[in-house]
Symmetry: C2
Subunit: 404 residues, 2 copies
């Protein structure tokens, strides 16, 4: 008699964004006359840049002719894309990462969910609180998180590192020693960033205690301040303790295109076993590569035209971020983020819970945001708005919130 | 101190097709004057059909304009594709499968590797021997297979069902009762098929013992005989015991495009828990959907023009299969498969091992095939050739083999 993976049944409720989707759908159905503005899920709205469109069309044409048709991709990604990333994201910043340390995938969500598979079940993970739910949920599904306490909304075998106004939305080194540390900067959901010196402390700590850092750099394109690192490999010693996750979703608008990458330096080892070899084995056995045409689109992100067009696209969203930040501030809200990240993090007014504020905003302003508590217990009383709407919708949403 | 997943270290050697790739690369480098013909890995060579190219271009254009741009896809796939599959692959054959029981993915390799995650670690799996290596390897990586015996090349906690000439290349019901049964028909690697009556026996058996069948239907487009089922849901009672994996790789040449689907009927349960809900949760948490433009390409597979063009493409490959089958037979080889599948399975001559024959063929005829032993111990002494080359290469390869 087959038996299901009981760990799945321990997960409280459904995935955050599925719940939001259902709530919005129900409201929309009950109020067909209302125009809803979505600043909730971090989905982009600007079309793909012309350089990317051109590249996609070109690759589609290649697939139409036997001589240039592409079947199975190389296990770990096409060399042209791995090299473009190594050159532009790393070597150009003085970081020592080789093309064959970059693994191409269909997105950072998959990678951030799958990466835990190459670790033993008895590793203890540490996460920021609040945090992108995928890090914890995928460890729950694997059976690595112990028992769930419904009152505190925490797992017994997870080390939570609060990131609240009191800690300036950055984690402090944990008292209990973790084996795997998830860090994401610029941060989702708080929009906060840390300096290179601050990140160096984490690298030093991880090397000292023998922990591995899984560093999610999905939002690095939004960094505007000088002393904020674009990759963890700017820090000395990161090659022996850090895995980095890269996304094309936010810097190039690929949420519906699906492309990402994971970097594992070959110096990252347990004894003789490199994590690089384990991830390569996982790719070879459980994955079949990102589509050729999509990898060509990724290459165009690093072309001169692509870079210029995407710089404008990021600037467009960051202008939205400024609009939200300043608009809410002038309306008396306590806000942070939005300077090095496309996320604005606000304190809910009048001691509303995050979900109360979600319902309030949906019903009264027809604006969708994301409840902070959905990202962890320390997110309670906070709320996330994203800069990924159109400028017109962003202005309209802020006007509606101000009018409440 | 972090610890790696030791199960990965139990895997003997590297993934079969990676090993073949390395051997061929080494031979090629040492013999730059030789023209190698690859009939090894099951990769297609014909370009994408015109209807698919047109659909891809159209979808790319949609991504270029804000009004028709598509961001994150629905968790489980776009309705247009789920419905096209439910209508064409199931309803048209009288099978009761609804659109919301179809989960769109980026390929059957990922799905066949990931599906085991929704089951407990203490399920016992049964596999055909020989078999597509992904089924066993992904269970090894999860820690479900016990101890490896290097002499017999088997795992202590896996039930092997030999499929050799003696069993007509079909499995017999196992003596020990399994919890999860992997079946693939038409079969990779042997190219054999089973009748609907034979498959019905497996469905009845699974329902009787409470096992779940993971049915890989990747090659159904190649079925030419009347009494061979195109889906397991042609069998009565399959809704309570079977998951079906579908691929676009071989029927539409999508090996480099990446699209697949998994069907889980809502009647498949352990108590109140549906496997459908667990797989939906996995999709929502660890996956972010197949690219919009690729899902549109999948839709074109089911258009009238697409169907006609792909029928021709399958016929082209099946003509190759016939060429291989008859050519080898006339040369005195013992061959099977090739009638309902794009794979030809042959007995190695002169008691050569599978890898000896691989080297012999590579060195003497410069033809790449796949050693049967790479698919399991009962594959020893067999060899797989695929029909996915060009017609010209297929003819040339067979001429070379005949000339040996």
């Amino acid at each position: 008699m087959f038996k299901v993976n009981d760990n799945y049944l321990k997960l409280p409720g459904s995935y955050l964004f599925s719940t939001i989707g259902k709530k919005v759908a129900a409201f929309s159905e009950a109020n067909p006359d209302k125009t809803i503005i979505r600043l909730g899920i971090g989905d982009v709205t600007q079309p793909l840049a012309p350089a990317i469109i051109e590249s996609l069309h070109g690759a589609v044409e290649e697939m139409a002719v036997a001589e240039t048709f592409h079947g199975y991709a190389p296990d770990l990604g096409y060399e042209f894309l791995r090299k473009a990333m190594a050159d532009n994201d790393y070597k150009a910043r003085g970081c020592d990462i080789a093309a064959d340390e970059v693994f191409i995938s269909d997105g950072a969500k998959c990678d951030s969910g799958n990466i835990q598979e190459i670790f033993s079940l008895d590793n203890k993970i540490a996460v920021c609180d609040p945090v992108y739910p995928v890090y914890v949920d995928t460890n729950v599904m694997a059976g690595r998180t112990g028992i769930y306490d419904a009152v505190s909304e925490t797992w017994s075998d997870v080390i939570y590192m609060p990131c609240t106004a009191e800690t300036n939305f950055a984690p402090e080194l944990p008292e209990e020693t973790p084996d795997i540390i998830y860090l994401c900067f610029p941060n989702n959901p708080t929009g906060s960033a840390i300096t290179k010196d601050e990140l160096q402390k984490w690298v030093d700590y991880a090397n000292k205690v023998g922990a591995v850092i899984i560093y999610d750099a999905a939002y690095e394109a939004y960094i505007s301040e000088e002393n904020v690192p674009h990759t963890i490999y700017e820090c000395e010693g990161a090659r022996t303790c850090a895995i980095e996750l890269r996304s094309f979703s936010k810097n190039a608008g690929f949420t519906g295109v699906r492309l990402g990458a994971t970097v594992i330096p070959k110096d990252l080892k347990q004894g003789d076993v490199t994590l690089h070899s384990l991830w390569a084995r996982r790719h070879g056995t459980k994955y079949n590569g990102a589509p050729y045409i999509i990898q060509r689109a990724g290459e165009a992100v690093y072309s001169e035209a692509g870079k210029a067009q995407l710089k404008d696209q990021v600037a467009y969203y960051m202008n939205n971020a400024k609009t939200i930040y300043e608009g809410l501030k002038s309306a008396g809200y306590t806000v942070s983020g939005g300077v090095n990240a496309p996320y604005i993090w606000l304190k809910t007014p009048d001691k509303m819970t995050s979900w109360e504020f979600f319902d309030y905003l949906l019903e009264q302003a027809n604006v969708v945001g994301t409840p902070g508590s959905g990202f962890g217990p320390s997110g309670e009383g906070y709320f996330r708005l994203t800069a990924f709407g159109s400028y017109e919708n962003t202005v309209a949403a802020i006007d509606r919130i101000k009018a409440l």
